[in-house]
């Protein structure tokens, strides 16, 4: 079953044609990785799924993007509702200047949840899902800035999980982390795909190979090749993919 489907998506930054007719479908409860050199449009494409590109002036999007069957660019779509449905983890850990607890509870609070007990349970569950609970359970009131970079990134994942999205977008989630934290995060992604559809943008091809079920290779705003991860890495059909994964450019 497809969770995200896009049909002929074009995106323009002013005059710049950043995405050139991308049609693809991402399967439910699978990890899909986007790879490609810098500036190839993979992050831009990812940010279409929760309409983060709306924040940038002069962006124009054409084509259809359907998430769980709903066209998310239809005029009657509430962007904040969409974003509750599609969570996002960013490149750099970006916790709020609040306590660990309040960081995770944030999404619930902005959704108007007042029930204290419910919030506490959800925070605990999310932190456990993000494999952070044991490390922070005694200091939930402490500032999130006291955590290490890797812990902060897992906190951001817990924060995204707390509002129970069905899709989790990850924009190079480990690029600012050390190898140990990266390993932990990758392990976490493995566990999370049971419940979530995950789309991850990465610069690191080994990472794509380790965590994803499907991989899409982007180049200059085009989707060059999209296949099962194993197939794409062992038997790429396109010469450009071949060149990229063998490290001839990028």
């Amino acid at each position: 079953m497809n969770s995200i489907e896009t049909k002929d998506v074009h995106l323009y930054y002013g005059d710049f044609h950043a995405l050139k007719g991308i049609t693809m479908a991402m399967k439910k409860n699978q990890v899909t990785a986007f790879i490609g050199p810098s500036g190839c449009g993979k992050s831009t494409y990812l940010r279409c799924f929760n309409r983060m590109n709306d924040l940038i002036d002069g962006v124009r999007i054409e084509g259809d993007i359907l998430i769980d069957g709903t066209d998310i660019y239809k005029s009657d779509i509430q962007v904040d509702d969409l974003r509750k449905h599609v969570g996002m983890v960013f490149q750099k850990p970006n916790p709020f200047p609040k306590s660990i607890f309040e960081n995770v509870a944030y999404g619930l609070r902005v959704n108007g949840t007042k029930d204290k007990k419910f919030i506490e349970e959800r925070v605990e569950r999310s932190l456990k899902q993000a494999a952070l609970w044991d490390e922070v359970k005694d200091k939930l009131k402490k500032s999130a800035f006291e955590l290490s970079g890797g812990q902060q990134q897992r906190l951001c994942i817990a924060r995204a999980l707390a509002i129970e999205p069905s899709v989790l977008l990850m924009d190079e989630p480990t690029s600012a982390l050390d190898p140990l934290s990266t390993a932990k995060t990758e392990e976490l992604i493995h566990q999370l795909k049971e419940n979530y559809t995950i789309v991850i943008v990465t610069h690191n091809m080994q990472q794509a190979g380790r965590v994803s079920d499907y991989t899409a290779f982007f180049y200059l705003g085009e989707l060059v090749e999209y296949a099962k991860t194993k197939t794409l890495f062992t038997n790429p059909k396109d010469q450009r993919t071949q060149n990229y994964i063998t490290g001839r450019f990028g």
Binding site: L55, M88, F90, F96, Y106, V110, N111, F145
Partner: protein, 401 residues
């Protein structure tokens, strides 16, 4: 050789920089020293105007009077010696001009040459008299008792409720109404400026489109450049009559008028500083909030304001600082009555306005002059406290990052 000259040039420049730094620091310290030397001088003065004598009959049991008692006597609020711990007898107030009621011109002498003896006789004769006359007419063998008033005390100065620095025979130097007036007007100003300023800075930082912002921000900052006397004039012509009409007051020159003007004057500082603080909120922080389904307003008050709260506090404190020290505009619109204010619709007088209005008529080195310097010291300490708070808040901000 060339190299030597190059080095020489550098040394000269270095020397000049060091010198100017040193000179500037010393000048600043000297100014502060001068301010406090003059200001603290007031506490070694008695409230009796220089060259005046207050005297009573030697049999009178009252040996000491305070400045406020002297004023009460002259205001006829105290009329009996028993109110001062003396015998039950009405106080007979005598000023030097009254001498003609007791003696003929011949007895005084055409050039007042017998006046000292006559004064001495008069005071010796009447046990209920309280005489007040210039020191030059004090006889060498004066038969009465001079009453020396205590020096002005720090407590009396700070806690005194009356400010009559030129009243005869004993000046009243209570700065409480002035301190309260200053705080009152500043408080009102900040109550007006903070919500407005905060709203404007949120608008500029987060809501306005870049074109509007690029136009509005310089315009608001231009407000800071308007001379304060122009604000005062605007207040006098527009705000004062408006307040008078709206509240049906006999006069519109009130604390409220001062607060409004000061609030307007503090706005550019508050807007500019807090807008800058809000714009330093990392984009990633805003995106994180939006990505969690928060709307724009939730993002503003749950993320952007908490993130920039120390910048906003700095802005507020700087705004108060501007309000407290402001002189001209306040002088023009507050009515300048040195009474303790109870509502915003009463005239008040602030410390800077007092100094500006009175320094010109205070004789140099006199008690009034020194009292104004003491007021300057109080103002200096107030603004110093504000600046130190700003420092504290902004270092805390750095520690938080």
């Amino acid at each position: 050789m060339k190299r030597y000259f190059n080095n020489l040039g550098e040394r000269v420049i270095e020397g000049l920089i060091t010198l100017s730094g040193t000179v500037t620091s010393i000048t600043v310290l000297l100014i502060v020293f001068f301010l406090f030397k003059e200001g603290l001088g007031v506490f070694s003065q008695t409230p009796v105007a220089e060259g005046s004598v207050i005297a009573v009959n030697k049999q009178n049991p009252v040996k000491e009077l305070t400045a406020s008692q002297v004023k009460e006597i002259f205001d006829q609020n105290i009329t009996n010696w028993n109110q001062l711990g003396g015998a039950n007898a009405p106080i007979k107030l005598f000023e030097v001009d009254d001498i003609t009621d007791y003696y003929t011109e011949e007895q005084i002498g055409s050039n007042f040459e017998y006046l000292p003896q006559r004064l001495s006789e008069l005071v010796a004769k009447d046990p209920t008299i309280l005489a007040f006359f210039p020191e030059e007419y004090l006889a060498k063998d004066f038969a009465g008792r001079r009453i020396e008033l205590d020096n002005i005390s720090v407590g009396g100065f700070l806690g005194g409720k009356e400010w009559y620095p030129t009243i005869q025979p004993a000046v009243q130097l209570g700065v409480l109404p002035l301190i309260l007036g200053t705080l009152w007007v500043s408080l009102g100003a900040i109550l007006i400026a903070l919500p407005l300023g905060l709203a404007t800075s949120i608008y500029l930082a987060e809501i306005a489109n870049p074109k509007v912002r690029n136009f509005l921000k310089p315009v608001i900052e231009l407000l800071a450049g308007i001379p304060s006397v122009v604000y005062g004039f605007f207040g006098l012509v527009v705000i004062v009559p408006l307040i008078q009409d709206v509240f049906g007051l006999p006069v519109g020159e009130t604390a409220l008028a001062g607060s409004i003007i000061l609030g307007i004057m503090a706005l550019p500082t508050i807007i500019s500083v807090s807008e800058d603080a809000m714009r330093t909120t990392p984009r990633a922080m805003k995106e994180a909030s939006l990505a969690l389904g928060a709307n724009k307003w939730q993002t503003i008050y749950r993320v952007i304001i908490p993130y920039s709260i120390s910048g906003i506090s700095t802005a507020a404190i700087l705004g108060i600082g501007r309000a407290i020290g402001e002189t001209m505009a306040v002088l023009m619109v507050t009515g300048n009555a040195s009474v303790i204010p109870h509502t915003f619709l009463e005239p008040v007088r602030t410390i800077p306005a007092t100094i500006a209005a009175e320094l010109g008529e205070a004789p140099q080195g006199g008690i009034h002059f020194q009292a104004l310097f003491a007021l300057g010291c109080i103002l200096f300490l107030m603004t110093l406290a504000i600046n130190m708070t700003v420092d504290l808040v902004s270092t805390k901000k750095k520690a938080n990052r």
